[in-house]
């Protein structure tokens, strides 16, 4: 749009700046707080927005654990981040594999009750983890998967959203391509790996970003299935820092929060190009 209307420009910029401020300010606050000492935070009201000098000390305690200057003990964040990373990766990759295969089956194979199966998968879109959490917990607990990676990830892997997304994508692949592959002698799995998978690259990338963040941000489910502190993901770890001690050292909490935020941010930044491509265009 090429328009010259100063007032409209001013208002739109104002709205955008406000929006950015609303999103960015808490991040800034968390970062500034993580660079100050607990004492500075406790004594200053309101919190100073100038970064303090306690950066390395706070992050050392947050990352590797240990005793702070105030005398309270902190568990290390690093292993918790490891658990989060493994879970998020397993969930994201697992979801992609399962939904690629199920979408492939639904679109390209004629089997009895195909439509019914599709609608059953589709209906589960309305049943997020929180809704079916009771029975799912029962199953996971009966299978002895509490406090394990399997318990953290398996129930979250099946994904109607991703299946649906891939189905829609596969439906746009021209029939002629399928037929050409048949004439070339490619069997179903060969077609899947040689043609369909490369064509889905960008969708897979976009989905990976979304699902990685979904997996990383899980809170309620890990809260239920992990009782052993060795299996806490980082998101639970933050909560434990706040509730666990009588006196909360906010600098460590904020440092842990910043640490928890880094991996998803890195994934988004690294995959940004692919992510946008996957949502916007298809390479055909």
């Amino acid at each position: 749009m090429i328009e010259r209307r100063p007032v409209a420009t001013f208002i739109s910029h104002l709205v955008l700046i406000l929006g950015v401020a609303v999103v960015a300010f808490p991040l800034l606050l968390a970062f500034v707080a993580s660079t100050q000492s607990a004492q500075e935070i406790a004594q200053s009201r309101p919190l100073s927005l100038v970064p303090g000098s306690n950066f390395f000390e706070t992050y050392r305690i947050a990352l590797f654990g240990g005793e702070s200057s105030m005398g309270s003990k902190y568990p290390p964040a690093l292993p918790m981040m490891g658990i989060s990373l493994v879970s998020a990766l397993v969930i994201a990759i697992g979801k992609i594999i399962i939904s690629l295969l199920s979408a492939f089956a639904i679109v390209y194979f004629r089997f009895p009750l195909r439509t019914l199966v599709f609608w059953m998968i589709f209906v589960t879109l309305m049943l997020p983890v929180e809704v079916r959490i009771g029975p799912t917990y029962e199953v996971v607990s009966d299978l002895g998967m509490l406090n394990s990676y399997a318990g953290l990830t398996v129930p979250l892997i099946a994904s109607a959203t991703a299946t649906f997304l891939f189905r829609q994508f596969f439906l746009t692949v021209p029939d002629e391509l399928v037929e050409a592959a048949r004439v070339d002698g490619a069997g179903p799995m060969r077609f899947f790996f040689d043609v369909l998978l490369p064509l889905s690259r960008t969708s897979i990338a976009a989905l990976f970003v979304i699902q990685f963040i979904y997996g990383w941000n899980q809170y309620l489910w890990p809260l239920l299935v992990t009782t052993n502190e060795d299996m806490y993901p980082i998101v639970l770890g933050i909560k434990r820092l706040i509730a666990g001690e009588a006196y909360t050292e906010w600098n460590v909490v904020m440092a842990t929060a910043i640490l928890a935020l880094l991996p998803p941010a890195i994934v988004v930044i690294l995959m940004q190009k692919w992510f946008v491509k996957g949502l916007v265009d298809t390479e055909k």
Partner: protein, 335 residues
Amino acid sequence: MSSLSFRNVVKRYGTGKQQLQVIHGVNAEIAQGEFVVIVGPSGCGKSTLLRMVAGLEEITGGEIAIGNRVVNALEPAERDIAMVFQNYALYPHMSVFDNMAYGLKIKKVPADEIRARVDKAAKILELSHLLERKPRQLSGGQRQRVAMGRAIVRQPQVFLFDEPLSNLDAKLRAQTRIEIQKLHRELGITSLFVTHDQVEAMTLAQRMIVMNAGVMEQFGTPEEVYHRPASTFVAGFIGSPPMNLLKSAPGTRAGQLMGIRPEHLDLSSSGWAVDVDTVELLGAERLVYARLGDEPLIVRIDEGQAAPAVGARIHVTPRADRLHWFDATSGKRID
């Protein structure tokens, strides 16, 4: 190279009451190395017939044989055919080389032979400098050639073409037509070519199958189809403008139709008196749209002849040896 036989081939979709029959018993024997064009209006079943040969559509009844082998139950890849699709169906993520080599890789042809075959095909089609490109970096004509190259490298018994020229512009189409003819002369592979364009059919075919509503109306050389159309449908479909079919021209018996092509009517001083409605100049010729009694009649005259005035009454004489007679009810030719 093999012959190709259709034996009472039938195609039905659905079952019970919703059953729809789209191919009604096609019989044809195509000789080894022959170039046969299937032509007909859209929806006549010509593509379905081709896809049944390819194995992409099931054969409901009858038999299709390539060489001596009935292929009804074989997978497309086992039929030893190659197909060129209307939209080319190139794999968008593969280079031109990989597109052409894919079928051979699956067949586990040794890599150096694949290289040799692709290089040879690329040379014939003048694609050698494009082998590393992706399909989206190619023009329409180049994509079309890649699709042909993919068919050639398979060294099949039968080539199948499904309207491969319909996405090209007129000039490129004429050029590609000649290339296809040349290719067929060089390789001599039995070919089946589907089109709705009668010019393509006439120029490419050694013999052509004219289809209408799932029925094979005529199977013959372009000359036969043009000079001795087997039915009023063929007479109207082949030739542009179509043959005049007249119920009440002088000399027509009841229950018969007289057929005369516009180019076989000559201006004369006596003969049929017709009223001129419109005159079109097409360059080398003029088309005169006129009425004989209340029936429309198209006359083709050379550009050099004076154009009749619109609304004038002129006289035309049909060439006696170019008259065709058809049964008015069945539409079949009467000899």
